[in-house]
Amino acid sequence: MEQSNKAHRKTKEKNTAKKKLHTQGHNAKAFAVSAPGKMARQMQRSSDVNERKLHVPMVDRTPDDDPPPVIVAVVGPPGTGKTTLIKSLIRRMTKTTLNDINGPITVVSGKHRRLTFIECPADDLNSMVDVAKIADLVLLLIDGNFGFEMETMEFLNIAQTHGMPRVLGVTTHLDLFRSQSTLRTSKKRLKHRFWTEVYQGAKLFYLSGVINGRYPDREILNLSRFISVMKFRPLKWRNEHPYLLADRITDLTHPEKIEREGKQIDRKVALYGYLHGTALPSISGTKVHIAGVGDFPISQVEKLPDPCPTPGYQQKLDDYEREKMKEEGSTSVTPKRRKRLDDKDKLIYAPMSDVGGILMDKDAVYINVGKKNEDESFVPGQERGEGEKLVTSLQLAEKSIAENFEGVGIQLFSNGTELHSVEPEEDEFVEEEEQVEGSNKGRANMRKPKVYGKSIQEDDDDIDLDAIPSDDENEDVEDDSEPRMEEIDFGDNNKSTNTAETDSEFELSDNDDNWETDVANKLQANKTKRRRKWDIGKLIYMNNIEPEDCIKRWKGEDEEDESDDEGESDIEKDEQEFFTKKTGVMDQNKETFNDLEKFVPYFEKIEKLVEKWKSLDSINDRFIGASMKSKTEDAEGDSNEDEVFGDFEDLEDENQEEENQDEVEDDEGEQSDDSFTNFDKEEKKDLTMDEERELNAAKKEKYRKQFEIEEGENFKEDDPDNEFDTWYELQKAKMAKQLEINKTELDDMTPEQRQKIEGYKAGSYVRIVFDDVPMEFIENFDARFPIIMGGLLPTELKFGIIKGRLRRHRWHKKILKTNDPLVVSLGWRRFQTLPIYTTTDSRTRTRMLKYTPEHTFCNASFYGPLCSPNTPFCGVQIVANSDTGGGFRIAATGVIEELDVDTEIVKKLKLIGYPYKIFKNTAFIKDMFSSAMEVARFEGAQIKTVSGIRGEIKRALSKPDGHFRATFEDKVLMSDTVILRSWYPVRIKRFYNPVTSLLLEKKTEWKGVRLTGKIRADLNIETPTNPDSAYKKVERVERHFNGLKIPKAIQKDLPFKSQIHQMKPQKKKTYMAKRAVVMGGEEKKARAFMQKVLTISRAKDEKRKSKKADQRKERLKRLAKTEEAKLEKEKEKKKEYFAKNGKKRSSTTEDSRGSKRR
């Protein structure tokens, strides 16, 4: 058979790059700028695009290593499939199927990324507000059949005011569309609507129907990929505050206390969660806000082992382990680096949803025993199996083991007495404490996990403990805290000695815990020389030591070493200088301590100074000129100088600094060599070319540095040709540098120092304990509603008047009324307050407005916890679900402009009076005031008549009380009205009512102060109306003024021009008046005819008009009828449709929880 080959394919005419260049008929490169206008436009365009990409440079304070999990909030109206989506995503990421979603769920989604999913309860505005404040990414669920619903819009608007998080739209229920074309059009419509809400080109996902209770795997896979590569921009508020989304809470109150004092007592509550934002300060007593509960001081923070560590972090731990192994000499294999997540790395942590039924805590392990619907297990007498029996028997034990042995002594000899243990007294206190603690501990020391970053209890007791003198000191102990000589001994790497000498603080915790400390110590070993000394850093903060003592002790290393036992041998040491010096120091101490206010610092006596400063050698290197001089003295720049200038390299750069250190060391080595400079000089001729070059380079570098020193900072700061093209880049670089400095500095510190300086950094899993939390928080706890703890800055703890710019939301139906309660969400807080809306009258005064203007900003002032300017806020009138109609609830949005302790707001008050006696320019005015006292208050006030004559209040009249004399610039009329325009101060009501929705049993039903309208409606009060304020038709009486009468005497003297020309009344009849006209003949006939014709035509017109009106009426009636029929038909249609398709909605309105398990 003939072999059949594929026919030869001819090479295609390839469009090579070269050919492309010549498409225009000439070499495009040769005429690069062929169209300058076009090119300019292109450049303009590209720079526009680039410029639009820029954002205000902001520092991102999220730590690079081990960042906190990304909070993904799933938001949407009820029944849009939030739970299903979370379940599908969790299933996809961790291969776990969750039955019940309660509270935040943290999963590992990548090597360095974790996600915390929270479901935002659809029917709670409060939760929506809270979630919007903390979510990094919002999955906005939209029912494809219904489009955007009120909740969605509300959420978007809330999110916008609190710093827009990333929003991903997810459209569900798309399988319900029957025809493809409607699906397509509705998709498109949704997309565009979404774009207008979020931004042009925002991503909108489409999920089709549910399979096996989950969304299709392929679609979920895409979504999860999208999520896991998403980047986030730092948001201002979150970049300035620490916050935490509690994924677990426990009530630590002693159960006995509850039993004894009743359920009503305040509880001790622990919140658990990952820290986000900035570092949480480690000072106990720091106030934080728990949204929906209130402000509480932190009584204790503790860093716990990460329950859901990322593989990247695990790797770090492993690396550390391996290092350690290597040090010990054993070899280990480096594990293979994987590209994909291992199954064992796909962790899930959802304590509220209890995954897997086991839950571990610092001091307890909770085991979920069976389901509720199964019969009870662990019932004594009905055990099923060996294990249960064991447990129940444990429960049966009446006495603890210790109690069992109580009273049992040891008989050493058969005839001897029983020896009983004697309690060591000093332990008593500790044990007591342990007992108290132990009662709510469950099993103590069950787990010894590795902790990254030691958990330090920030109690002052701790510091005291730490300050208890170690055994080698036998000084008197004042108080119970006395600083301890810290022995820094890092010479050997022997672990046992290390642990023995670490702080007692460390000894409190497990040895395994502080590997980090070990490492830090080891790291420091190279730096610190072996010596015994007081640590000034600790001494400074020991409040029980007087400052002078503190300094003395610290300096003691050189002074008091010798004079340790002052009593005996001191005087023999007759070093006069030493002695005087010491007294000098003492004097100084006394003096300065008595008068620390003194500005001038302590100086030695003048004679001493003269002696000391005979030569300026000790500070020669501080003067530029002097060092130059000394430099010129040296023929060759020898290494001594190198040392002087060696450290003037780029100082900011840490790495370089380290290098510097090395360099310096090298230099020292060199120095010893260089003591033979002369030899060098002789040998110089023998240098090779390279060596000479090196030498020259070194010299050049030295000169450069010299130049830099002399030029100072200016050299770098205002350098126009620095490496950064734009200001933006420069700022970015500066920030990056600062961050780097932060990192290196913090890494250099020991863990406890770091804790003190930095606090608990974001990404650490902490347990925060609060005392005195209202019992309702625990009793009415519902995992469905997120618990958010936000840190507060010092300003946010103060209360005062907040002035902001505010605008009624255009979708809110009503304008807002001054002093009507408004629930404001500002910062972490939600609170009800009574705002006063104001405007400024050309910046001279702040005038109250009764209502917000329709479509423009006004100012609002309200009382509440302060928040720094530029913080946006939003307000709603009602948060309770039962009180809301279907309308858009966000009533106003705004931004804080200014804070103050009080503010001056006025409202206009017009007092009116009437003149009752008028002299020339003076008039007596009545009805303005009711007493002479009131008049006295306004003496000298400017008044004005309606007609515009200005005047002044002079004096109260004695007789009719409240009447007064006033002068005007002209004579006023009796009919005029006098107006006194005054400004009446308006007080802002100091009303602050935090929305404590989480304390309620029905969390969605928080009701605060009612709106004015609501109160009126409830109490059946009519809205008060001032009849004067009602708009009426203005009826003006025609006024007649008498003519001007000028006395003859005056008239006579007036110049001709000003003479009044008045015609005398005519006496004779005019010609026209005299004549009488009589019509006759033709004219009369014509007139009569015309009159008839006109009458007929008028009558006809009338008839026609009335007929037309009738017809019109008929027509309208007909139209109305058809309209009605149409409506009826439509209604029927709708009814039919919703009966078929809208079952879901009706069910959700009845019971939103019911829809969860659809």
Partner: protein, 369 residues
Amino acid sequence: MSSNKKSPYVTFQGSQNFRLRIVLSTLSGKPIKIEKIRSTDLNPGLKDFEISFLRLMESVTNGSQIEISYTGTTVIYRPGIIVGGSHTHNCPPSKPVGYFVEPLLYLAPFSKKKFSIVLRGITSSHHDAGVEAIKWGLLPILEKFGVRECALHTLKRGSPPLGGGEVHLVVDTLIAQPITIHELERPMISAIKGVSYSTRVSPSLVNRMIDGAKKVLKNVGCQVNITADVWRGENSGKSPGWGITLIGETKKGWCYFAEAIGDSGAIPEEVGEMVAYHLLEEIESSGAIGRTQLPLAITFMVIGKEDIGRLRIAKAEIDERFVVLLRDIKKIFGTEVLLKEVNDGSDHSDDYIVTVKGNGFTNANKKIA
């Protein structure tokens, strides 16, 4: 600490560091209570200048509440909002204007309105900051922290005891946060300048002081430039007096200074010499900044951004004042500083680096737009 957890005040005892405590409280917004002010003294309670200072604080803030106990030994201060504005303050004759200007420098950059305060009284004294010391010694430090437009104008000089001087403090820069600074080196001094001034005495005294100072400083190897400033007529206050202030300037903007005034009977040359020696001493015992500038710098570092700032100080600068300062800062702000020894192998290896993480303070008083 734990005992006064419930108490709404941060409590201090004694009269020491009075101004700084009030200033820190105002910056942090935390109310403080100072107890036992000279309680064992024959003349217990607040002194007239302290009362005057509290008045000044009241006028530059809005909503501050000051409660002074009957005996004057206890003060409760609830800070309001720093507003600034234009004020005139008459200082009591017991303290010079420098006593009042110094604390104002801490507050001025963080106020609502610009500071423009005229202070009347004595302009120089033995124990408190003189006008030149503030102008050339403290304002440059402010400048390093980003407060560029600040000035202290001497309208009239007034020597003790009668005074009659007048100074005008103008701070036009309102910043949200001080700049985070890093100074890891002892800066090099590029020039020494100074002012030698006199009121109502012979101008020759001024020149004699200059001579005395120059004699000491001739060997330092850099430029020494001392200005003579002789005040005559009605602007020279009510009493005769004279003094000298020397400043060591660096290219980087840091500076060191020393000052003194002459008593009647003192020899001008000796005063000049003494101040020169003090300057040398100050230079020797300072890292990047002098002892008198330290509180200002540390405070500004503490209230900076949430970044780490570093400052090199000499061992001699760690004294009681420093300890008291840090303790007060910790009490009010809760911020601790870290002292780290410098091991760069240079001559001054007993220097320390003060590492401070700013507490994220922002000037919330300023109005936007």
